[in-house]
Symmetry: C2
DNA sequence: CCACCATCCATTGTGTACAATCGCGCTGTT
DNA sequence: AACAGCGCGATTGTACACAATGGATGGTGG
């Protein structure tokens, strides 16, 4: 609890994840990234003061970031008891996936109608980045970029409420994948992403929706939600017992 | 700016809209209600200090409530410039309605599968309340209760992400209705709500979805979004000019 | 007379001190 | 030995003070 970052006052974009914007966004992005990359395990307590020291900002900023993360379902905010990394139950995971199926179908149809050439090019670029991450063995970045692909697709759908909802769903999905994914197979196979882009570019709505639905099938078929989820579920159930494994520096390296 | 409420420290539930919970919720609910009942017109500036004095809490609380309202799209938070009541453009209204169609369809199907007898009874009760409000001539309460009906329905669908999204959509819809509704016709005709409940109770999914879609049709057919929206749109465009019509006590009576 | 610029003021953004709350361990009793 | 009650420590909740930003206003020069 004695090491601290440079006060990040003026660094324009902090490394890889720090989007442009205010301190909130930087803190938010770093915590989010740490959760996705499993440097912060589900159930880990997120002390406001500790995070404040780590990032060199006051609790005010931390609190806003946590509130935002909580709203997206990545962090659980227990009144008077602090924040912990969310550990979605199997049931919660199912609900998220159901909602995503719904939203992705609509987004795909809309994207086929509205996606511009520029957006399609950006999507292809993101798939490239994603493939690079996986081939580099950077699992966390891969999951994150895969999520960002779906978010970019939502932007192409040109519907602000859907984009916002999709952001929340993608965040939660990423957390679920990080928590439940079986084996070491790649997550969103980027091949599927590429095919999807092709269908969208060809303005073939039916095919695009089909591909997206299969893509969704593949994603949750990779998870252990169905039968043998007992062990993972137990872990989630008892995670609050493990949460106090030294409060000191949950984030080792940023 | 000199009259103030009792500091609301310990009043368990403040009148009609104050849900159980902390001060945030009370402030949130009151502002939300004031917006829906058009005691706060779109474009009205929401000064943190003024609200703080009115509710007898510090800006910290107000800020949280505003942030929450902003996330639901009812309030626009402009960095360094304060918060104003959102004034959705026609395009934004269209996007909200598109998203709602999507979500309502899914919610209806799920509610048909999962709604319990108790929930159905609660829905019927809400329709009664709604009818009472309209017959009493309380337009604001009517719009609000009508929204709460749709939210209750979402709860019956037993999908947390969808509930959360629906909450946001319903809030925005209510604001749009308050802003754009033509004539003095009733908004959500409660007859349609009753029929919908009947179909759900009979577990007739196809009929229920049909009714819901027609219900959606009726809702936006009542709005002036389509052709003659010019005047309303102009009003929205220039609403920021009217926003400074005395900052004093925007909320007259709670 | 108009346009531009500098200064001021009102309002929001942030940090920090204090108060309230909850969990935990201690002690005493049965 | 086990359990209930109580106080303590740590952490969150709230208020407030100060800093920073942006708009408004009044003055000056063209």
């Amino acid at each position: 609890m004695n090491e601290q970052l440079q006060p990040l006052k003026k660094q324009p974009r902090a490394g890889k994840a720090g989007r442009s914007g205010t301190q909130d966004d930087i803190v938010y992005a770093h915590i989010f990234e740490a959760i996705l990359e499993q440097r912060l395990a589900p159930g880990t307590k997120l002390s406001e003061e500790a995070l404040g020291e780590i990032f060199g900002v006051s609790r005010t900023i931390i609190r806003r970031a946590l509130s935002r993360l909580a709203h997206e379902g990545v962090v659980l905010l227990r009144p008077n008891r602090g924040a912990v990394v969310a550990s979605p139950s199997v049931e919660e995971a199912r609900q998220v996936f159901l909602a995503r199926r719904l939203v992705e179908r609509a987004i795909t149809e809309l994207a086929v109608q509205h996606a511009t050439a520029e957006q399609i090019a950006e999507l292809r670029q993101m798939v490239n980045d994603e493939r690079d991450s996986f081939s580099r063995g950077d699992r966390g970045a891969g999951i994150r970029l895969s999520g960002e692909f779906h978010l970019k697709l939502a932007e192409a759908a040109k519907n602000a409420p859907l984009i916002s909802f999709q952001r929340s769903l993608v965040s939660q999905t990423s957390l679920i994948i990080a928590q439940y994914e079986s084996g070491n197979r790649s997550h969103c196979s980027y091949d599927e992403h590429t095919q999807l882009i092709d269908a969208i570019e060809a303005r073939n709505g039916e095919l695009a929706v089909d591909l997206m639905m299969h893509h969704m099938d593949h994603i949750d078929s990779k998870l252990n939600l169905d039968e043998e989820s007992a062990s993972d579920d137990l872990h989630a159930v008892f995670s609050h017992l493990l949460q106090t494994k030294k409060p000191g520096r949950p984030v080792a390296k940023l």
